[in-house]
Amino acid sequence: MIAFLLRRAAHTLVVVAAVATLVFALVHLAPGDPFAGSLDNPNVTEEVRARWRAAYGLDQPLPVQYGRYLSRLARGDLGWSFSRQQPVASVIGEAIPRTLLLVGLALVLAFAAGVALALAQTRRRGRPFDRVASGVSLVLLSIPDFWLGLLLLLAFSYWLPLFPVGGMTDAVEYPYLGIGGRLLDRAHHIVLPLATLVLAAGAVVARYQRAALLEVLPRDYIRSARAKGVGEKEVIARHALRNALMPSITLLGTSLPALVGGVVFVEKVFSWPGMGLVAVDAVSSRDYPLVLAVVIVGTIVVAAGNLLADVLYRVADPRLRDA
C-alpha cells in the first residue's frame, strides 16, 4: 500500500507540473492582463498601466516570467495577488479551510442522503414514492448548481426570509457575538450553500446507488439470504448494499472534482469567500499568480479524490488489495 501511495504521489507531482505549465501559457495568451481594467476611469492612462506592469515584471518576455515563476515556486513562494493585494499563499490559506468546510460537509451529507434515499427507493421500488424520488433527483441533477443556488436564495432568503442572503458571517453583528453566537451565526450562513451542493450531489449519488442496488438484488446470494429467512431490511442493508457500494465509491472520486467545480458557482452566488470565489475573481481580473495557485490546489484536490477512491476500492474489495 505504501509503494502504491508513493507511486500515486509521484504521478500527482507530474500532473501538477504539467497542468501549471499549461495554465501559465493559457492565461498569458488570453487577451487582457491584470491592469487592463479600470477602463472607465480616464485618469488611468496607458502610461500608468505600463508602470504597473513593469512593477510586477509583466513587461518581461513570457519565458522569463515563467522562469521567475518556477524559481519562486521552488522556494515555496506562490507570488503576489494583484487583485487581493496580498501574498497568494495568504489568500489561498484563508480560502481553503472555508471551501473544505463547505465541500467536506457537502460530500458527507450528499453521500449519506443519497445512499439513504436509494435504500428507501429500493425497498419501495415501483411504488409512487420511488417514482417521485426518481423524478425529483433527475430534476435536481439536471439543474445547474448556480441556478439551484439562486432559486434557494430567492426562496429562503427573500420570499421566505429564513436564512441570510450570503457570506459566511453577519457583517454587522458577528464581531460582537460570543463563541456560541458565532458558531450559530456560521451555521445559519452555511445552510443554503450547503443545501445547494448536497441537493445537487446527493441526487447523483441516489440515482447511481439505486441502480446499483437494483442490479444486485436479483443475484443468487441475495436469493439465498432471503431463502434462509433473512428479513428484507437486513438483506438490503447488509447483503445488497455492501456489494452495491462500488459505483458510489467510484462516484466519490469523481464527485470531489465535480463538487470543486460546482462550488465555484455556489460560492459566487452565496458570496462564500472560499476557493471558488477566489477562482472566479482571479480569472476575471487576470490575476495570473492567483489563477495558477488555484489550479495547482484544484489539481491536487482532484488527484487526492481519485487517490481516495482507489484506497477505498481496496478497502471495500479484498481482491484489489494485492493488485
Binding site: 496607458e46 487581493r84 442572503v165 450570503g166 457583517a171 460570543g178 453566537g181
Partner: protein, 569 residues
C-alpha cells in the same frame, strides 16, 4: 398566494432572533465585546452598503476603483473639499478640511495652505505640513505609479515654511490649479509611510490597516468579504453622525441586490431598472436618482485596426458615420434599456457639469436622410436588403464588455436599428480584461465605450489628438481634429468661466458634427436607501462624499444601529 405578509413576519422573526442573539449571548456565553457608550443627540447607527466588488487598495495614491474611493474618502482627508456645485475653476465653493484657510500669491503661481492645528491622525499624532509635502512626493513618484499622477503635473513642488503651513508652487497658472492641488490628493501620514519602499507600498502593514485623519477610522477588513470603518469620536472636524459604515461584498449582482431587498443592507448603487418595481413595493426602501457623471457612446475606430497609418475602410468617412448616427433612435434605445434611469447623451459630456449646455446641436434621428446619404455614397441595397459597395458589404463588428448588461442590450438594439438601414453588425461580447485590451490596442471596428468623469473633464485625453497618438492616450477611436483641440485648449486655459464655457460649446459642436461616436446615453445615478436613513446631499461625483453627515432617525433604528461606536475608542 401573496407571500408578502408571510415574508414580513418571517423577516421580523429572523430579525428578532438576530437581536436576541446579540442581546443574550454576551450574557449567556461571555466573551462578547459589548459597547456601552451611547452617542448623544442624533448621532449613531450603522449603515451597511452592498457592493459587487472589493476595494482595490486602501492607500490613496494606489486607489483607482470606485469602492476604493468610497472607503478612502472616509478615512483620509483632503486639504479642501470641492463644493456640491462641483465648480473646478479657482477655489469658489471649496470648503476647508485639513487646511483651515488658504491664500493665493499675487501672481497666482503659489497657494499657501494653513493646516488646522487640531487635526490629528487616528494614532494621535498631529497632521503637519511635512505630511502634505510627503504626500505630493508620493503621488508623483514614478515607482508608486499613482493613477492620478498625471493630473498633478502642474504642481512643481510643495514647501513647508513651518509645521502648519504648506505652500504649493505651480509651473503655470491654470483655472484648475486649486482643484488639481486638492481634489485628487488625500493626505497620508509620513511617519507611517515615509520609510516604506515606494514600489512596495501595497505590501506594507499600512495597506491592510490604514491610519488617516478623516471622520471615520479604519476598523477591519476581510478581503472580498467586508470592510468596516467607525466614527472617529474625537475628530477635529466633528464626530461622524453614524457610528459605523460597513461595505459588504457580494460579487454576484443578484446576491448584492437581494441583500438590500431582504433588509441585510441599507444602501445599494447602481440600481438597475429591473429592480425598481421591487424597491417601490418595499416600504422600507426608497429610490433616489440624481444626474451622474457617466456617459456611454458607440465609438467608431477612425483608423484601420491592422494598419494604423491608414484610415478605417468604413469609419474614415465622416459622411458614413453621420448616416449611421442618423439611423440610431437614441430615445427609443434609452427607454428600452433604462426606462427612466437614463437620458439621451448630449455629447462627450454630461448634464451634471457646471454650466452643462443642453442646447448643443445634435445629429437628428432621421432614417430617410440616413438612407439617402448612404445611397449617395454608393452603398446600395442588394437582394437581401443589405448594403454593399463594389462588392464590399457594409458590415462591421461591434465589441461590448460583458460586465455591462446595459451596453449588451444597447448593442442588440443598435444591431437591429442598423439592420433596417442595410448595415450588418456583428456583436462581439468580451470580458472586461479582453475588452480593455482590444480598446487599448485600437483593435476594433466599433465599440460601446463609456467614461466616468471627474468634475474636471479630461476631454484632451479621451477625445483630443494628444490622447490618440501620445503616450497614455485614452482616445481609442483616434479622432483627431485640430479645430477641436484648439477650442478645447482655449476653454481649459481661459480664466473667465463665461468665455471658457463658450469655447467648450464650440468644441462640442465640432466633435458632434464630426461624429467620431454616437453619443448614446447618460445614466442617472440611482441609489436605493433604507428609509430610516437621512442622507446628506448626494454629490454628483461621489454620493458617499457626505457619508459622515448622514443620520438615522432615532425612532426608526434597527438593532444594528444600537451597537454603538467602536469598542476600542
Amino acid at each position: 398566494m401573496d407571500m408578502a405578509p408571510v415574508r414580513r413576519n418571517l423577516l421580523a422573526m429572523r430579525t428578532r432572533v438576530g437581536h436576541l442573539l446579540v442581546a443574550l449571548l454576551p450574557v449567556l456565553l461571555g466573551g462578547c465585546e459589548t459597547q456601552k457608550e451611547k452617542p448623544s443627540g442624533p448621532a449613531g447607527g450603522t449603515v451597511v452598503i452592498a457592493v459587487a466588488a472589493d476595494v482595490d487598495a486602501l492607500i490613496p495614491p494606489l486607489v483607482s476603483s470606485i469602492q476604493g474611493r468610497q472607503v478612502t474618502d472616509q478615512i483620509f482627508d483632503r486639504l479642501a473639499d470641492i463644493g456640491d456645485s462641483l465648480n473646478t475653476t479657482g477655489d469658489y465653493g471649496f470648503r476647508p478640511r485639513l487646511a483651515e484657510r488658504w491664500t493665493w500669491s499675487p501672481d497666482s503661481l503659489s497657494i499657501t495652505f494653513s493646516l488646522n492645528p487640531l487635526a490629528r491622525w487616528h494614532d494621535g499624532r498631529p497632521v503637519t505640513s511635512r505630511d502634505v509635502q510627503f504626500t505630493h512626493q508620493l503621488f508623483q513618484d514614478p515607482d508608486v505609479a499613482a493613477p492620478m499622477a498625471a493630473l498633478l503635473s502642474n504642481i512643481d513642488s510643495v514647501s513647508t515654511p513651518d509645521s502648519l503651513t504648506a505652500v504649493f508652487w505651480f509651473k503655470a497658472r491654470s483655472p484648475r490649479q486649486f482643484f488639481d492641488a486638492v481634489y485628487n490628493v488625500h493626505i497620508v501620514p509620513e511617519h507611517l509611510l515615509g520609510s516604506a519602499p515606494r514600489g512596495q507600498l501595497r505590501a506594507t502593514p499600512f495597506a491592510r490597516s490604514p491610519v488617516g485623519s478623516g471622520r471615520f477610522r479604519f476598523a477591519r477588513w476581510q478581503p472580498a468579504v467586508s470592510l468596516e470603518v467607525v466614527a472617529d469620536t474625537n475628530n477635529y472636524a466633528g464626530r461622524a453622525k453614524l457610528d459605523r459604515v460597513i461595505w459588504t461584498v457580494s460579487p454576484d449582482f443578484t446576491t448584492a441586490s437581494t441583500k438590500l431587498l431582504a433588509g441585510e443592507a441599507d444602501v445599494f448603487e447602481p440600481v438597475r431598472p429591473e429592480m425598481i418595481p421591487e424597491i417601490r413595493k418595499n416600504p422600507s426602501l426608497r429610490l433616489t436618482t440624481y444626474p451622474g457623471l457617466d456617459y456611454t457612446f458607440l465609438q467608431f475606430n477612425l483608423r484601420d485596426p491592422r494598419r494604423r497609418s491608414a484610415p478605417h475602410a468604413l469609419f474614415g468617412d465622416r459622411r458614413l458615420r453621420t448616416a449611421l448616427s442618423m439611423a440610431i433612435d437614441r430615445e427609443s434605445l434609452v427607454r428600452n434599456v433604462f426606462d427612466t434611469l437614463a437620458r439621451v447623451a448630449i455629447g462627450p459630456t454630461v448634464r451634471g457639469y457646471v454650466g452643462a449646455d443642453e442646447s448643443l446641436p445634435q445629429i437628428r434621428y432621421d432614417t430617410t436622410a440616413a438612407n439617402r446619404l448612404l445611397d449617395s455614397l454608393g452603398w446600395t441595397r442588394g437582394a437581401n436588403r443589405m448594403r454593399s459597395r463594389a462588392g464590399r458589404p457594409l458590415a462591421f463588428t461591434l465589441v461590448t464588455p460583458t460586465s455591462s448588461r446595459a451596453r449588451g442590450r444597447a448593442a442588440v438594439i443598435i444591431q437591429e436599428q442598423l439592420r433596417k438601414l442595410g448595415v450588418a453588425v456583428e456583436i462581439e461580447s468580451l470580458d472586461n480584461a479582453a475588452f480593455s485590451t482590444r480598446m487599448q490596442g485600437r483593435s476594433f471596428d466599433a465599440a460601446l465605450g463609456g467614461w466616468h468623469l471627474d468634475p474636471a473633464p479630461g476631454i484632451r485625453q479621451t477625445w483630443g489628438s494628444a490622447g490618440s497618438t501620445g503616450p497614455g492616450g485614452n482616445n481609442f477611436g483616434s479622432y483627431e481634429s485640430a479645430e477641436f483641440d484648439m477650442r478645447v485648449d482655449s476653454a481649459l486655459s481661459t480664466m473667465d468661466p463665461v468665455r471658457a464655457h463658450a469655447w467648450m460649446r464650440r468644441a462640442y459642436e465640432v466633435i458632434i458634427r464630426d461624429a467620431p461616436a454616437v453619443w448614446l446615453y447618460e445614466p442617472l445615478s440611482a441609489i436605493a436607501l433604507h428609509s430610516r436613513i437621512k442622507p446628506a446631499t448626494l454629490r454628483r461625483d461621489a454620493w458617499w462624499a457626505h457619508l459622515a453627515d448622514w443620520t438615522i432617525d432615532p425612532a426608526a433604528r434597527l438593532p444594528r444601529d444600537n451597537i454603538g461606536p467602536a469598542p476600542s475608542q
